[in-house]
């Protein structure tokens, strides 16, 4: 590699300067501070360091520019950021916000090979709509994997995911029935299957199988515990 590794912070500065310098106002210290959520004095110190490394042109009270070398680094970083963000949203199906945050973290470390493989995977899935759809489904069913600790009614617990019963909030007769069948707070429960007509559901609790209507399951609050067998 020609470019020696810069600190993540330095790369962030270069990226921000590149972005701001494309605006009519140009990249000014105050704007950089605002965009990166730091004090202007910190920005000044950082710019000074960048200038010393021959990456940025910097004159006090003027617009900040990038040297050709700095511009190359910044464009590289920015390209990686865009590639990662795209991979996260389009291929992994993350939200914009989550993709943005994660891309900011990973753009500094991802090697060109990782990036190219990611891009390849994305292209592959776009070229095979059937697979992309299957993958999207798999992602949906495993949505919980990224959401441990979600609380919901038992009726919303995805099939195959375990949950811990938090409470049984319902009038007396149904509650008595449920708790005597072993659905008490603290017990592990999992939805084993949904009836072909969409209701009722079969759950596994205390080593046996119990069926109930979704409307009844909705009264059972559970905390999702994905990954627990």
């Amino acid at each position: 590699m020609k470019i020696e590794r810069l600190s993540a912070k330095a790369e962030d500065y270069l990226e921000t300067i590149l972005r701001l310098s494309e605006t009519p106002r140009g990249a000014r210290t105050g704007d950089i501070a605002e965009a990166m959520d730091v004090q202007p004095s910190t920005v000044s110190a950082a710019l000074k360091s960048l200038k010393e490394q021959g990456l940025a042109d910097y004159e006090p009270y003027g617009a900040v520019g990038l040297t050709p070398k700095g511009r190359q680094v910044a464009e590289d970083i920015s390209g990686r950021h865009v590639a990662l963000r795209r991979f996260f949203t389009e291929t992994l199906g993350l939200t914009q916000e989550e993709a943005e945050v994660t891309a900011c973290g990973m753009e500094h470390d991802a090697t060109p090979l990782v990036l190219s493989r990611m891009a390849l995977l994305g292209d592959f899935l776009r070229g095979h709509p059937g697979m992309a759809e299957k993958w999207a489904q798999t992602r949906e069913t495993a949505r919980s994997e990224r959401a441990p600790g979600v609380e919901s009614g038992l009726d919303e617990l995805p099939e195959g995911v375990r949950g811990v019963v938090l409470s049984v909030d319902v009038e007396c007769a149904l509650r008595k029935r449920l708790v005597e069948m072993g659905v008490t707070p603290g017990v592990l429960i999992a939805v084993e299957r949904v009836a072909p007509l969409g209701d009722p559901i079969a759950v596994e609790v205390r080593g046996y199988r119990l069926s109930m209507r979704k409307a009844e399951a909705a009264h059972i609050r559970v905390k999702w515990r994905p990954g627990l067998i």
Binding site: R177, M181, T184, P200, R206, G207, Y208, M212
Partner: protein, 704 residues
């Protein structure tokens, strides 16, 4: 004769308690052998199975309590189990525990322990548990549970004798079950505070009643102080625990259950419990294949009951016909004609009405016993609940409705599988709307009589759909009125699949068939004889002409038969049924029916297919022997297609047959419901038929 002997022998009442699907009944069968007796608990339609036999020098009365998950008395079954245990008559309670599902089974143990009765535990299906890699420390378990633990095997009877021996030993010792659930500091202090208000009770009973009060059960005999203390403590603990007190109590009981199960179980290998059940469910409850397989199985059940039942039914009818013919042959000519008619038409006809159902009923109960014992019945409910629930019924109502397509009587008996009264009664009351096989004979007569070939299929289809529609509407109506309220919870165990033994299926089948013969059979017989009497009396002695002479002088057999038929028509017209038919004419006139239809309808009360025979008689065609074409021609001459349609609708919706009424009385345990069904259905039939007839007339088609 043996009264004195029996009095000398010590008696011991042994109660068999346990969860549903714990193998309790098959264990009961092994212990009771041929001595068992099936009946109902007084006042409710909960089956009571008991057996009396002598073991050693003790006369044992073994009672199979209804299978329950708890003793909180929320359902009639639970109330019965609780009352029987607490009645004081029981010398010892045997709890059957499913070794493959210890935790939930021992939850019942936690409640039993409070009853203060000597208890023995049958660790059932321990062989199946072993195949799951589970073994048990019996000594430790019996120390923890406070009573001997006997391993048993319900499928081959292993351990049944040792179980009885242990029960007798424990009963002789008189030692109450010594285990006690520790509810934890807070709850225990609350229990103590409430218990001390029960001054007249001993310590065990005071504790039990205190826990029951805290659990939210009503105890009308509890002193006011106890109730106040319970309310106070409950409020305190609910605030403290952040959840209802009954939940806290259940948690403690399950804590005990889990504790005992964990301590006493040795797991030899990591395992998937009930892997076979899981695999079978993956197929039988499959998102796509589950329903086709279900439809196929139900088709099988229906065919088993009706196709396989058809030949024996015909043998029975042929046999009874032969019997009647023989009696007629040996009857001294002309002697006591009334008695002859009573025997041949009344009694033999009535007996036929009872036992001709028997093959169907035996086969139905065979199918149900098999479905229940294998565990598929719960899956039927699971698969069908959504559709049935929309109709105001329960998933388990499906089988009765399906069977209703064949015959309503076994359909009503099949409602036994429904646990909750509201669901069961709704199903019983709407089952007769589903077109049964007997009504098919009416359609088969009337549809070709009035409709062109290309319409016949549609009309038949329409009548069947009308019946199902009526069932759905009435079910919804009932749920909105008489059986109002939140529908019963569907929360239901999906038991593991097990292969039932022929023995248990056979016993199951026979028990229920015997109950049918005893209870419904006697009513059917009595009403059949009554209907015979109504069709016979008052007797006509003077006819419009001298038939006897005319028949004797008839030139050809055809002419004689025609004269005989005319005589029968006059006899029927003169009889009570004929008079009722005529009396009903003003009521039936708006529907377009004359007295002849009225007479046939009254006769059809004995059995729906009698409608056809009665129509034959009133049209002087001498029964149906002549082939239906002449009767159809007569019908076409006298009625319009709209009237024909009205007859079918009325037969479909109106008063069900005697056997159905008897079965309803039997299953609801009340004449009120049975008669209510009779009147309600007839009223609905009248209104619907009236509307259809008026609508048809207004549209200008029909009464041509």
């Amino acid at each position: 004769m043996g009264g004195k002997d029996k009095a000398k022998r010590p008696r011991l009442v042994v109660l068999l308690a346990g969860n549903p699907n714990s193998g309790k009944s098959s264990l009961f069968n092994w212990m009771a052998g041929a001595h068992q007796h099936v009946g109902n608990y007084p006042g409710v339609t909960v089956e009571k199975k008991s057996a009396r036999f002598v073991r050693g020098d003790v006369e044992i009365e073994l009672v199979d309590l209804p299978g329950v998950y708890s003793l909180l008395a929320a359902s009639p079954e639970e109330a019965i189990a609780r009352d029987e245990i607490l009645s004081g008559a029981a010398g010892v309670v045997i709890q059957v525990v499913d070794a493959t599902n210890l935790e939930r089974n021992l939850h019942l143990t936690a409640q039993l322990a409070e009853m203060g009765v000597p208890t023995v535990y049958a660790l059932n299906m321990s062989d199946e548990a072993a195949s799951h890699g589970l073994t048990f420390d019996l000594e430790l378990m019996s120390a923890l549970l406070g009573g001997p633990v006997v391993p048993t095997n319900g499928s081959n009877g292993e351990g049944a004798d040792a179980l009885l021996a242990a029960a007798q030993r424990v009963a002789a010792g008189g030692q109450a079950c010594s285990s006690r659930v520790n509810y934890g500091l807070d709850l225990e202090s609350a229990i103590a505070a409430v218990a001390e208000q029960f001054e007249g009770d001993d310590a065990v009973s005071a504790r039990r009643r205190a826990i029951a009060l805290l659990d939210g059960l009503s105890d009308p005999h509890a002193p006011a102080g106890a109730r106040e203390a319970a309310a106070r403590e409950a409020a305190r603990l609910e605030k403290r625990g952040g959840r209802p007190l009954d939940v806290q109590i259940a948690e403690a009981r399950y804590g005990f259950a889990l504790g005992v199960a964990t301590e006493a179980t040795r797991e030899s290998s990591p395992h998937v419990r009930h892997a076979r059940t899981l695999r079978l469910d993956n197929l039988l409850l499959h998102r796509i294949w589950g329903l086709p397989i279900f439809v196929f199985l139900m088709w099988g059940v229906f065919n088993l009951v009706f196709a396989l039942g058809e030949p024996p039914m015909q043998w029975i009818e042929a046999g009874l016909g032969g019997l009647a013919a023989r009696i007629l042959a040996v009857w001294p000519a002309g002697a006591a004609p009334l008695l002859q008619s009573l025997v041949v038409d009344g009694i033999i006809g009535g007996v036929g009405g009872v036992i001709s159902f028997l093959p169907n009923i035996l086969l139905l109960f065979l199918a149900i016993a098999f479905l229940e014992d294998t565990g598929y019945m719960a899956r039927v409910a699971f698969l069908m609940d959504r559709a049935m629930h929309k109709m105001g019924l329960h998933g388990k109502s499906f089988i009765p409705m399906l069977i209703g397509l064949g015959c309503t009587v076994p359909a009503i008996l099949a409602t036994r599988t429904l646990e909750h009264k509201r669901d069961r009664f709704t199903t019983i009351l709407v089952a007769p709307f589903v077109s049964c096989g007997a009504r098919m004979t009416i359609y088969a007569l009337l549809i070709p009589a009035f409709f062109a070939p290309r319409w016949r299929g549609w009309v038949l289809w329409g009548v069947y759909v009308a019946g199902i529609l009526a069932a759905v509407l009435v079910a919804r109506l009932l749920r909105g009125t008489l059986f109002r309220g939140e529908s019963a919870p569907f929360v239901m165990e999906l038991p593991p699949y097990r292969l039932p033994t022929l023995r248990s299926v056979g016993i199951h089948m026979w028990d229920r068939a015997w109950m049918y013969l005893q209870k419904a059979g006697t009513v059917i017989l009595a009403i059949s004889i009554l209907l015979w009497a109504l069709g016979t009396f008052p007797r006509r002695t003077e006819f419009s002409r001298d038939y006897a002479a005319a028949i004797a002088a008839a030139p050809a057999p055809e002419a004689a038969a025609a004269l005989e038929a005319a005589r029968q028509a006059e006899t029927l017209e003169y009889s009570a049924i004929g008079r009722i038919g005529k009396g009903l004419e003003p009521v039936l006139r708006p529907l377009g029916f004359d007295w002849r239809v009225g007479t046939a309808l009254v006769g059809a009360f004995a059995a729906k297919e009698v409608f056809v025979a009665q129509m034959g008689i009133v049209f002087s065609l001498g029964g149906a022997d002549e082939g239906p074409e002449r009767l159809r021609a007569a019908l076409r001459k006298n009625y319009t297609p709209l009237q024909g349609l009205a007859m079918m609708l009325f037969c479909l919706l109106s008063a069900p047959c005697v056997a159905t009424i008897a079965a309803t009385k039997r299953e609801t345990n009340s004449w009120g419901w049975a008669l209510g069904m009779l009147l309600g259905m007839t009223a609905i039939a009248w209104i619907v038929t009236f509307v259809v007839v008026r609508l048809g007339l207004a549209l200008g088609w029909g009464l041509a």
